[in-house]
Symmetry: C2
Subunit: 279 residues, 2 copies
Protein backbone atom coordinates (compact mmCIF):
# COMPACT_ATOMS: atom_id res chain seq x y z
CA UNK A 1 0.00 0.00 0.00
CA UNK A 2 1.67 3.18 -1.22
CA UNK A 3 0.29 6.24 0.51
CA UNK A 4 0.91 9.89 -0.29
CA UNK A 5 1.62 12.19 2.64
CA UNK A 6 0.67 15.86 2.16
CA UNK A 7 -3.01 16.20 1.26
CA UNK A 8 -3.68 12.50 1.89
CA UNK A 9 -2.41 11.67 5.39
CA UNK A 10 -2.14 15.24 6.61
CA UNK A 11 -2.29 18.89 5.59
CA UNK A 12 0.59 20.79 7.12
CA UNK A 13 0.59 19.88 10.85
CA UNK A 14 -2.97 18.56 10.90
CA UNK A 15 -3.75 14.89 10.30
CA UNK A 16 -6.73 14.35 8.01
CA UNK A 17 -9.38 12.97 10.40
CA UNK A 18 -9.22 9.19 10.73
CA UNK A 19 -6.10 8.79 8.61
CA UNK A 20 -3.60 7.99 11.38
CA UNK A 21 -5.94 5.46 12.96
CA UNK A 22 -6.55 3.84 9.56
CA UNK A 23 -2.82 3.39 8.94
CA UNK A 24 -2.50 1.88 12.42
CA UNK A 25 -5.23 -0.62 11.53
CA UNK A 26 -3.13 -1.67 8.52
CA UNK A 27 -0.06 -2.11 10.67
CA UNK A 28 -2.03 -4.07 13.25
CA UNK A 29 -3.18 -6.43 10.53
CA UNK A 30 0.52 -6.77 9.70
CA UNK A 31 1.49 -7.63 13.31
CA UNK A 32 -1.26 -10.19 13.50
CA UNK A 33 -0.29 -11.87 10.26
CA UNK A 34 3.45 -11.87 10.89
CA UNK A 35 2.95 -13.48 14.29
CA UNK A 36 1.30 -16.38 12.49
CA UNK A 37 4.21 -16.89 10.07
CA UNK A 38 7.03 -19.20 11.04
CA UNK A 39 10.01 -17.19 9.73
CA UNK A 40 10.71 -13.55 10.45
CA UNK A 41 12.17 -12.88 6.97
CA UNK A 42 9.03 -13.59 4.96
CA UNK A 43 7.15 -10.52 6.01
CA UNK A 44 5.47 -9.89 2.69
CA UNK A 45 4.75 -13.57 2.12
CA UNK A 46 3.23 -13.56 5.59
CA UNK A 47 0.27 -11.61 4.26
CA UNK A 48 0.86 -8.49 6.32
CA UNK A 49 0.16 -5.37 4.28
CA UNK A 50 3.26 -3.27 3.74
CA UNK A 51 2.93 0.50 3.92
CA UNK A 52 5.19 2.88 2.07
CA UNK A 53 4.67 6.61 2.41
CA UNK A 54 5.59 7.89 -1.03
CA UNK A 55 6.01 11.64 -1.07
CA UNK A 56 6.93 14.10 -3.76
CA UNK A 57 8.05 16.61 -1.21
CA UNK A 58 10.74 18.91 -2.41
CA UNK A 59 10.86 21.08 0.65
CA UNK A 60 11.25 18.75 3.62
CA UNK A 61 14.20 16.60 4.53
CA UNK A 62 13.77 12.95 5.49
CA UNK A 63 14.38 13.92 9.13
CA UNK A 64 11.59 16.54 8.97
CA UNK A 65 9.16 14.04 7.49
CA UNK A 66 9.90 11.47 10.20
CA UNK A 67 9.58 14.12 12.89
CA UNK A 68 6.13 15.16 11.66
CA UNK A 69 4.89 11.57 11.46
CA UNK A 70 6.03 11.18 15.06
CA UNK A 71 4.09 14.29 16.11
CA UNK A 72 1.02 12.95 14.29
CA UNK A 73 1.27 9.67 16.23
CA UNK A 74 3.14 7.44 13.79
CA UNK A 75 6.71 7.17 15.11
CA UNK A 76 9.15 5.61 12.62
CA UNK A 77 12.70 4.38 13.24
CA UNK A 78 15.38 7.04 12.68
CA UNK A 79 17.49 6.92 9.52
CA UNK A 80 20.20 4.30 9.98
CA UNK A 81 17.94 2.28 12.26
CA UNK A 82 15.51 1.18 9.55
CA UNK A 83 15.35 -2.54 8.86
CA UNK A 84 14.63 -4.27 5.58
CA UNK A 85 11.54 -5.81 7.11
CA UNK A 86 10.05 -2.65 8.62
CA UNK A 87 6.38 -2.69 7.59
CA UNK A 88 6.29 1.08 7.11
CA UNK A 89 8.90 3.34 5.51
CA UNK A 90 9.13 6.71 3.81
CA UNK A 91 10.22 7.15 0.20
CA UNK A 92 10.90 10.79 -0.58
CA UNK A 93 11.63 12.32 -3.97
CA UNK A 94 14.28 14.46 -2.29
CA UNK A 95 16.34 11.52 -1.04
CA UNK A 96 15.84 9.83 -4.43
CA UNK A 97 17.25 12.99 -6.03
CA UNK A 98 20.31 12.80 -3.77
CA UNK A 99 20.81 9.15 -4.76
CA UNK A 100 20.57 10.15 -8.43
CA UNK A 101 23.16 12.92 -8.03
CA UNK A 102 25.59 10.79 -6.02
CA UNK A 103 25.44 7.87 -8.43
CA UNK A 104 26.50 10.22 -11.24
CA UNK A 105 28.95 12.34 -9.20
CA UNK A 106 27.05 15.51 -10.16
CA UNK A 107 27.70 18.87 -8.50
CA UNK A 108 24.28 20.52 -8.25
CA UNK A 109 23.08 24.10 -8.28
CA UNK A 110 20.29 23.62 -5.74
CA UNK A 111 17.00 25.49 -6.11
CA UNK A 112 15.65 24.00 -2.90
CA UNK A 113 14.09 25.21 0.31
CA UNK A 114 16.39 25.69 3.31
CA UNK A 115 14.69 22.82 5.17
CA UNK A 116 15.47 20.29 2.45
CA UNK A 117 19.14 21.20 2.07
CA UNK A 118 20.20 18.88 4.88
CA UNK A 119 19.48 15.93 2.57
CA UNK A 120 22.20 17.31 0.24
CA UNK A 121 24.78 18.43 2.79
CA UNK A 122 27.32 15.82 1.73
CA UNK A 123 27.37 16.83 -1.96
CA UNK A 124 29.96 19.05 -3.61
CA UNK A 125 28.20 22.11 -5.01
CA UNK A 126 31.23 24.05 -6.28
CA UNK A 127 31.45 24.72 -10.04
CA UNK A 128 28.01 23.15 -10.53
CA UNK A 129 27.24 20.91 -13.54
CA UNK A 130 23.59 20.13 -12.81
CA UNK A 131 20.45 22.01 -11.75
CA UNK A 132 18.18 20.53 -9.09
CA UNK A 133 14.83 22.19 -8.60
CA UNK A 134 12.22 21.57 -5.93
CA UNK A 135 9.64 23.74 -4.26
CA UNK A 136 11.68 26.71 -3.12
CA UNK A 137 9.61 29.91 -3.01
CA UNK A 138 12.61 31.87 -1.69
CA UNK A 139 14.68 30.82 -4.72
CA UNK A 140 11.91 31.42 -7.25
CA UNK A 141 12.86 34.90 -8.28
CA UNK A 142 14.26 36.14 -11.56
CA UNK A 143 17.94 36.37 -10.58
CA UNK A 144 18.23 32.86 -9.13
CA UNK A 145 16.22 31.22 -11.92
CA UNK A 146 18.33 33.10 -14.46
CA UNK A 147 21.47 31.75 -12.81
CA UNK A 148 20.13 28.21 -13.34
CA UNK A 149 19.15 29.05 -16.93
CA UNK A 150 22.63 30.37 -17.71
CA UNK A 151 24.25 27.24 -16.27
CA UNK A 152 22.10 25.10 -18.59
CA UNK A 153 22.90 27.26 -21.62
CA UNK A 154 26.64 27.31 -20.90
CA UNK A 155 26.83 23.57 -20.23
CA UNK A 156 24.71 21.54 -22.70
CA UNK A 157 25.54 18.32 -20.82
CA UNK A 158 24.23 19.61 -17.48
CA UNK A 159 20.98 17.86 -16.56
CA UNK A 160 17.91 19.70 -15.31
CA UNK A 161 16.65 17.53 -12.44
CA UNK A 162 13.18 18.10 -11.02
CA UNK A 163 12.50 16.68 -7.56
CA UNK A 164 8.90 16.73 -8.73
CA UNK A 165 6.86 18.54 -11.36
CA UNK A 166 3.83 19.32 -9.27
CA UNK A 167 1.35 21.73 -10.84
CA UNK A 168 0.02 23.06 -7.55
CA UNK A 169 -0.62 22.17 -3.93
CA UNK A 170 -3.23 22.99 -1.35
CA UNK A 171 -1.90 25.09 1.47
CA UNK A 172 -3.18 25.77 4.97
CA UNK A 173 -5.35 28.75 3.95
CA UNK A 174 -7.35 26.39 1.73
CA UNK A 175 -6.19 27.91 -1.55
CA UNK A 176 -4.16 26.23 -4.25
CA UNK A 177 -0.62 27.50 -4.67
CA UNK A 178 1.94 27.11 -7.43
CA UNK A 179 3.95 23.89 -7.27
CA UNK A 180 7.56 23.36 -8.27
CA UNK A 181 6.38 22.21 -11.70
CA UNK A 182 5.64 25.79 -12.73
CA UNK A 183 9.28 26.72 -12.34
CA UNK A 184 10.51 23.45 -13.84
CA UNK A 185 8.40 24.33 -16.90
CA UNK A 186 9.88 27.82 -16.94
CA UNK A 187 13.44 26.49 -17.15
CA UNK A 188 12.46 23.77 -19.63
CA UNK A 189 10.83 26.32 -21.92
CA UNK A 190 13.73 28.74 -22.05
CA UNK A 191 16.59 26.21 -22.03
CA UNK A 192 15.00 23.81 -24.48
CA UNK A 193 15.84 20.98 -22.03
CA UNK A 194 13.42 18.34 -20.78
CA UNK A 195 13.67 17.88 -17.04
CA UNK A 196 14.51 14.52 -15.55
CA UNK A 197 11.66 14.14 -13.05
CA UNK A 198 12.67 12.14 -9.98
CA UNK A 199 9.43 11.78 -8.01
CA UNK A 200 5.92 10.69 -8.93
CA UNK A 201 4.70 10.14 -11.65
CA UNK A 202 8.10 8.81 -12.78
CA UNK A 203 8.02 5.05 -13.37
CA UNK A 204 11.45 4.61 -11.84
CA UNK A 205 10.30 6.04 -8.53
CA UNK A 206 7.36 3.64 -8.22
CA UNK A 207 9.61 0.71 -9.24
CA UNK A 208 12.12 1.57 -6.50
CA UNK A 209 9.32 1.31 -3.93
CA UNK A 210 7.99 -1.98 -5.35
CA UNK A 211 11.53 -3.41 -5.34
CA UNK A 212 11.88 -2.49 -1.67
CA UNK A 213 8.61 -4.20 -0.77
CA UNK A 214 9.44 -7.17 -2.97
CA UNK A 215 6.11 -7.27 -4.73
CA UNK A 216 4.86 -6.85 -8.27
CA UNK A 217 2.93 -3.82 -9.50
CA UNK A 218 -0.38 -5.65 -9.61
CA UNK A 219 -0.05 -6.47 -5.90
CA UNK A 220 0.18 -2.79 -5.01
CA UNK A 221 -2.12 0.21 -4.79
CA UNK A 222 -1.22 3.87 -4.63
CA UNK A 223 -3.53 6.16 -2.64
CA UNK A 224 -3.21 9.90 -3.11
CA UNK A 225 -4.90 13.24 -3.70
CA UNK A 226 -3.04 14.08 -6.93
CA UNK A 227 -4.85 12.69 -9.96
CA UNK A 228 -1.88 13.02 -12.29
CA UNK A 229 1.13 12.26 -10.10
CA UNK A 230 -0.40 9.68 -7.73
CA UNK A 231 -3.17 7.98 -9.68
CA UNK A 232 -2.02 8.42 -13.28
CA UNK A 233 1.62 7.74 -12.40
CA UNK A 234 0.79 4.59 -10.45
CA UNK A 235 -1.50 3.28 -13.18
CA UNK A 236 1.16 3.87 -15.82
CA UNK A 237 3.56 1.81 -13.68
CA UNK A 238 1.03 -1.03 -13.46
CA UNK A 239 -0.32 -0.36 -9.96
CA UNK A 240 -3.87 0.40 -9.08
CA UNK A 241 -4.48 4.08 -8.31
CA UNK A 242 -6.98 5.28 -5.71
CA UNK A 243 -7.93 8.95 -5.49
CA UNK A 244 -9.01 10.63 -2.24
CA UNK A 245 -11.27 13.68 -2.03
CA UNK A 246 -8.91 15.56 0.29
CA UNK A 247 -5.93 17.87 -0.18
CA UNK A 248 -5.63 19.22 -3.71
CA UNK A 249 -8.54 17.11 -5.00
CA UNK A 250 -10.94 19.08 -7.20
CA UNK A 251 -14.39 17.98 -8.33
CA UNK A 252 -13.35 17.90 -12.00
CA UNK A 253 -10.71 15.25 -11.16
CA UNK A 254 -13.55 12.69 -11.14
CA UNK A 255 -14.25 13.35 -14.82
CA UNK A 256 -10.78 13.62 -16.32
CA UNK A 257 -10.47 12.73 -19.99
CA UNK A 258 -7.40 10.50 -19.69
CA UNK A 259 -7.07 9.35 -16.09
CA UNK A 260 -9.73 7.15 -14.47
CA UNK A 261 -8.95 6.15 -10.85
CA UNK A 262 -9.50 2.52 -9.86
CA UNK A 263 -11.36 3.88 -6.85
CA UNK A 264 -12.40 7.28 -5.50
CA UNK A 265 -12.85 7.65 -1.73
CA UNK A 266 -13.77 10.51 0.56
CA UNK A 267 -10.52 10.16 2.47
CA UNK A 268 -7.62 7.86 3.26
CA UNK A 269 -9.54 6.07 6.02
CA UNK A 270 -12.32 5.13 3.58
CA UNK A 271 -9.77 3.89 1.03
CA UNK A 272 -7.95 1.80 3.61
CA UNK A 273 -11.15 0.33 5.01
CA UNK A 274 -12.13 -0.65 1.48
CA UNK A 275 -8.81 -2.47 1.02
CA UNK A 276 -8.93 -4.12 4.44
CA UNK A 277 -12.44 -5.39 3.72
CA UNK A 278 -10.96 -7.45 0.85
CA UNK A 279 -7.79 -8.51 2.60
CA UNK B 1 10.04 45.95 -44.41
CA UNK B 2 9.32 44.80 -40.88
CA UNK B 3 12.32 45.26 -38.60
CA UNK B 4 12.80 44.03 -35.07
CA UNK B 5 14.30 46.49 -32.58
CA UNK B 6 16.24 44.96 -29.66
CA UNK B 7 19.03 42.73 -30.92
CA UNK B 8 18.50 43.79 -34.54
CA UNK B 9 18.58 47.62 -34.66
CA UNK B 10 20.20 48.11 -31.25
CA UNK B 11 21.24 46.38 -28.03
CA UNK B 12 20.19 48.45 -25.04
CA UNK B 13 21.40 52.01 -25.75
CA UNK B 14 23.89 51.04 -28.45
CA UNK B 15 22.94 50.93 -32.12
CA UNK B 16 24.25 47.88 -33.94
CA UNK B 17 26.94 49.38 -36.23
CA UNK B 18 25.55 50.49 -39.58
CA UNK B 19 21.92 49.78 -38.70
CA UNK B 20 20.70 53.35 -38.29
CA UNK B 21 22.38 54.46 -41.52
CA UNK B 22 20.87 51.48 -43.36
CA UNK B 23 17.34 52.36 -42.22
CA UNK B 24 17.96 55.94 -43.35
CA UNK B 25 18.93 54.65 -46.79
CA UNK B 26 15.56 52.88 -46.96
CA UNK B 27 13.73 56.06 -45.98
CA UNK B 28 15.71 58.07 -48.51
CA UNK B 29 14.66 55.63 -51.24
CA UNK B 30 11.14 56.29 -50.02
CA UNK B 31 11.47 60.09 -50.26
CA UNK B 32 12.89 59.79 -53.76
CA UNK B 33 10.10 57.52 -54.96
CA UNK B 34 7.28 59.47 -53.36
CA UNK B 35 8.49 62.73 -54.88
CA UNK B 36 8.07 61.08 -58.28
CA UNK B 37 4.47 60.02 -57.58
CA UNK B 38 1.65 62.35 -58.41
CA UNK B 39 -0.60 61.83 -55.37
CA UNK B 40 0.46 61.95 -51.77
CA UNK B 41 -1.93 59.21 -50.68
CA UNK B 42 -0.42 56.41 -52.74
CA UNK B 43 2.73 56.04 -50.73
CA UNK B 44 2.95 52.29 -51.00
CA UNK B 45 1.94 52.32 -54.64
CA UNK B 46 4.63 54.90 -55.14
CA UNK B 47 7.29 52.25 -54.69
CA UNK B 48 8.80 53.70 -51.55
CA UNK B 49 9.69 50.98 -49.09
CA UNK B 50 7.68 51.19 -45.90
CA UNK B 51 9.43 50.48 -42.60
CA UNK B 52 7.65 49.14 -39.53
CA UNK B 53 9.60 48.51 -36.38
CA UNK B 54 7.88 45.46 -34.94
CA UNK B 55 8.90 44.83 -31.37
CA UNK B 56 7.92 42.22 -28.85
CA UNK B 57 9.00 44.43 -26.00
CA UNK B 58 7.10 43.85 -22.83
CA UNK B 59 9.06 46.26 -20.71
CA UNK B 60 9.12 49.56 -22.56
CA UNK B 61 6.25 51.89 -23.24
CA UNK B 62 5.67 53.35 -26.69
CA UNK B 63 7.03 56.68 -25.43
CA UNK B 64 10.26 54.99 -24.24
CA UNK B 65 10.74 53.27 -27.57
CA UNK B 66 10.30 56.51 -29.50
CA UNK B 67 12.66 58.31 -27.14
CA UNK B 68 15.39 55.73 -27.68
CA UNK B 69 15.01 55.82 -31.46
CA UNK B 70 15.42 59.58 -31.22
CA UNK B 71 18.62 59.21 -29.20
CA UNK B 72 19.92 56.72 -31.75
CA UNK B 73 19.33 59.22 -34.56
CA UNK B 74 15.92 58.13 -35.88
CA UNK B 75 13.40 60.69 -34.59
CA UNK B 76 9.75 59.63 -35.05
CA UNK B 77 6.59 61.70 -34.67
CA UNK B 78 5.11 61.63 -31.15
CA UNK B 79 2.01 59.56 -30.49
CA UNK B 80 -1.02 61.48 -31.71
CA UNK B 81 1.05 63.14 -34.41
CA UNK B 82 1.55 60.02 -36.51
CA UNK B 83 0.03 60.08 -39.98
CA UNK B 84 -1.39 57.19 -41.97
CA UNK B 85 1.24 57.80 -44.62
CA UNK B 86 4.29 57.97 -42.31
CA UNK B 87 6.88 55.73 -43.93
CA UNK B 88 8.16 54.50 -40.56
CA UNK B 89 6.17 53.53 -37.47
CA UNK B 90 6.52 51.38 -34.36
CA UNK B 91 4.28 48.40 -33.63
CA UNK B 92 4.73 47.22 -30.07
CA UNK B 93 3.29 44.10 -28.50
CA UNK B 94 2.57 46.16 -25.38
CA UNK B 95 0.30 48.63 -27.15
CA UNK B 96 -1.31 45.72 -29.00
CA UNK B 97 -2.01 44.14 -25.60
CA UNK B 98 -3.68 47.33 -24.41
CA UNK B 99 -5.83 47.39 -27.55
CA UNK B 100 -6.80 43.75 -26.88
CA UNK B 101 -7.76 44.51 -23.25
CA UNK B 102 -9.74 47.65 -24.10
CA UNK B 103 -11.68 46.01 -26.91
CA UNK B 104 -12.86 43.37 -24.41
CA UNK B 105 -13.29 45.69 -21.40
CA UNK B 106 -10.94 43.48 -19.36
CA UNK B 107 -9.54 44.54 -15.97
CA UNK B 108 -5.99 43.18 -15.91
CA UNK B 109 -3.68 42.00 -13.16
CA UNK B 110 -0.49 43.38 -14.69
CA UNK B 111 2.78 41.46 -14.38
CA UNK B 112 4.69 44.18 -16.19
CA UNK B 113 7.77 46.28 -15.65
CA UNK B 114 7.29 49.74 -14.14
CA UNK B 115 8.42 51.39 -17.39
CA UNK B 116 5.71 49.72 -19.44
CA UNK B 117 2.83 50.52 -17.09
CA UNK B 118 2.27 53.93 -18.64
CA UNK B 119 0.82 52.18 -21.71
CA UNK B 120 -1.89 50.79 -19.40
CA UNK B 121 -2.57 53.81 -17.21
CA UNK B 122 -6.09 54.33 -18.56
CA UNK B 123 -7.29 50.80 -17.75
CA UNK B 124 -9.31 49.78 -14.70
CA UNK B 125 -7.31 47.23 -12.71
CA UNK B 126 -9.63 46.80 -9.72
CA UNK B 127 -11.13 43.33 -9.14
CA UNK B 128 -9.07 41.94 -12.03
CA UNK B 129 -10.50 39.40 -14.48
CA UNK B 130 -7.46 38.88 -16.71
CA UNK B 131 -3.71 38.31 -16.28
CA UNK B 132 -1.27 40.19 -18.48
CA UNK B 133 2.34 39.07 -18.37
CA UNK B 134 5.38 40.66 -19.93
CA UNK B 135 9.04 40.81 -18.99
CA UNK B 136 8.91 41.99 -15.40
CA UNK B 137 11.85 40.65 -13.36
CA UNK B 138 10.65 42.56 -10.30
CA UNK B 139 7.26 40.78 -10.48
CA UNK B 140 8.73 37.34 -11.18
CA UNK B 141 8.79 36.07 -7.65
CA UNK B 142 6.71 33.35 -6.05
CA UNK B 143 4.15 35.56 -4.27
CA UNK B 144 3.24 37.67 -7.28
CA UNK B 145 3.12 34.73 -9.70
CA UNK B 146 1.01 32.82 -7.20
CA UNK B 147 -1.40 35.75 -7.06
CA UNK B 148 -1.83 35.50 -10.83
CA UNK B 149 -2.21 31.71 -10.61
CA UNK B 150 -4.94 32.02 -7.98
CA UNK B 151 -6.82 34.55 -10.10
CA UNK B 152 -6.80 32.09 -13.02
CA UNK B 153 -7.93 29.18 -10.82
CA UNK B 154 -10.71 31.21 -9.19
CA UNK B 155 -11.96 32.62 -12.48
CA UNK B 156 -11.99 30.02 -15.28
CA UNK B 157 -13.07 32.67 -17.80
CA UNK B 158 -10.13 34.97 -17.07
CA UNK B 159 -7.69 34.97 -20.00
CA UNK B 160 -3.94 34.62 -19.56
CA UNK B 161 -2.50 37.20 -21.95
CA UNK B 162 1.19 37.10 -22.85
CA UNK B 163 2.68 40.27 -24.29
CA UNK B 164 5.20 37.88 -25.81
CA UNK B 165 6.46 34.38 -25.12
CA UNK B 166 10.15 35.01 -25.61
CA UNK B 167 12.44 32.18 -24.51
CA UNK B 168 15.42 34.41 -23.75
CA UNK B 169 17.11 37.64 -24.70
CA UNK B 170 20.67 38.87 -24.96
CA UNK B 171 21.53 41.48 -22.40
CA UNK B 172 24.30 44.04 -22.20
CA UNK B 173 26.77 41.73 -20.44
CA UNK B 174 26.67 39.45 -23.49
CA UNK B 175 24.86 36.58 -21.75
CA UNK B 176 21.43 35.22 -22.51
CA UNK B 177 18.78 35.89 -19.88
CA UNK B 178 15.35 34.39 -19.28
CA UNK B 179 12.58 35.95 -21.34
CA UNK B 180 8.96 36.47 -20.34
CA UNK B 181 8.09 33.15 -22.00
CA UNK B 182 9.58 31.21 -19.10
CA UNK B 183 7.05 32.73 -16.71
CA UNK B 184 4.21 32.47 -19.21
CA UNK B 185 5.01 28.74 -19.39
CA UNK B 186 5.04 28.54 -15.61
CA UNK B 187 1.51 29.93 -15.34
CA UNK B 188 0.29 27.86 -18.30
CA UNK B 189 1.62 24.66 -16.75
CA UNK B 190 0.04 25.13 -13.33
CA UNK B 191 -3.24 26.71 -14.42
CA UNK B 192 -3.83 24.39 -17.37
CA UNK B 193 -4.53 27.48 -19.50
CA UNK B 194 -2.99 28.27 -22.86
CA UNK B 195 -1.80 31.85 -23.04
CA UNK B 196 -3.12 34.19 -25.69
CA UNK B 197 0.15 35.49 -27.14
CA UNK B 198 -0.14 39.05 -28.42
CA UNK B 199 3.23 39.74 -30.04
CA UNK B 200 5.36 37.85 -32.53
CA UNK B 201 5.04 35.04 -33.61
CA UNK B 202 1.26 35.50 -33.45
CA UNK B 203 -0.31 35.69 -36.91
CA UNK B 204 -2.68 38.43 -35.81
CA UNK B 205 0.16 40.73 -34.89
CA UNK B 206 1.84 40.41 -38.29
CA UNK B 207 -1.51 40.90 -40.01
CA UNK B 208 -2.15 44.13 -38.12
CA UNK B 209 1.14 45.50 -39.43
CA UNK B 210 0.46 44.38 -43.01
CA UNK B 211 -3.00 45.98 -42.83
CA UNK B 212 -1.45 49.26 -41.74
CA UNK B 213 1.01 49.21 -44.63
CA UNK B 214 -1.69 48.13 -47.04
CA UNK B 215 0.32 45.34 -48.61
CA UNK B 216 0.05 41.57 -48.85
CA UNK B 217 2.25 39.15 -46.94
CA UNK B 218 4.28 38.20 -50.01
CA UNK B 219 5.23 41.85 -50.50
CA UNK B 220 6.79 42.02 -47.04
CA UNK B 221 9.88 40.77 -45.27
CA UNK B 222 10.56 40.52 -41.54
CA UNK B 223 14.15 41.02 -40.37
CA UNK B 224 15.08 39.94 -36.86
CA UNK B 225 17.47 38.11 -34.57
CA UNK B 226 14.88 35.69 -33.14
CA UNK B 227 14.61 32.56 -35.25
CA UNK B 228 11.30 31.46 -33.78
CA UNK B 229 9.44 34.72 -33.14
CA UNK B 230 10.75 36.83 -36.04
CA UNK B 231 11.60 34.39 -38.82
CA UNK B 232 9.31 31.44 -38.03
CA UNK B 233 6.41 33.71 -37.11
CA UNK B 234 6.75 35.81 -40.26
CA UNK B 235 7.01 32.76 -42.50
CA UNK B 236 3.93 31.20 -40.93
CA UNK B 237 2.07 34.44 -41.71
CA UNK B 238 3.22 34.28 -45.35
CA UNK B 239 6.03 36.85 -45.19
CA UNK B 240 9.65 36.18 -45.95
CA UNK B 241 11.82 35.93 -42.85
CA UNK B 242 15.42 37.15 -42.73
CA UNK B 243 17.65 36.26 -39.80
CA UNK B 244 20.52 38.48 -38.61
CA UNK B 245 23.60 37.22 -36.79
CA UNK B 246 23.31 39.82 -34.01
CA UNK B 247 21.48 40.00 -30.68
CA UNK B 248 20.27 36.64 -29.44
CA UNK B 249 21.38 34.84 -32.61
CA UNK B 250 23.18 31.57 -31.90
CA UNK B 251 25.18 29.49 -34.39
CA UNK B 252 22.75 26.56 -34.15
CA UNK B 253 19.94 28.82 -35.42
CA UNK B 254 21.37 28.32 -38.93
CA UNK B 255 20.65 24.58 -38.75
CA UNK B 256 17.24 24.44 -37.11
CA UNK B 257 15.12 21.41 -37.90
CA UNK B 258 11.89 23.25 -38.62
CA UNK B 259 12.69 26.87 -39.42
CA UNK B 260 14.75 27.81 -42.46
CA UNK B 261 15.23 31.56 -42.94
CA UNK B 262 14.77 33.02 -46.43
CA UNK B 263 18.07 34.79 -45.88
CA UNK B 264 20.74 34.97 -43.19
CA UNK B 265 22.82 38.13 -42.89
CA UNK B 266 25.61 39.32 -40.62
CA UNK B 267 23.56 42.30 -39.50
CA UNK B 268 20.63 44.56 -40.36
CA UNK B 269 22.72 46.72 -42.70
CA UNK B 270 23.66 43.67 -44.79
CA UNK B 271 20.03 42.51 -44.93
CA UNK B 272 18.81 45.97 -45.98
CA UNK B 273 21.53 46.36 -48.62
CA UNK B 274 20.51 42.99 -50.04
CA UNK B 275 16.89 44.15 -50.30
CA UNK B 276 17.80 47.56 -51.75
CA UNK B 277 19.94 45.87 -54.41
CA UNK B 278 16.76 44.23 -55.74
CA UNK B 279 14.46 47.18 -55.31
Amino acid sequence: MLIDLSGTLHIDERAIPGSIEAVKRVLQSHSKSTTTTTTATTTTAGGGLQVRFVTNTSKESAASLRARLGRLGLPLPAEGETQMEDPVKIFSSLTAARTFLRSRSLRPLLLLSPNSLSDFADLDTRDPNAVVIGLAPDAFHYERLNEAFRLLVANPAAPLIAVNKSRYMKVADGFLSLGAGAFVSALEFSSGRTAHVIGKPSQGFFQTVLDDIGCTADEAVMIGDDLVDDVGGAQAAGLRGFLVRTGKFRAEDEHHEQIHPDGIFNDLAAAIDHILSFH
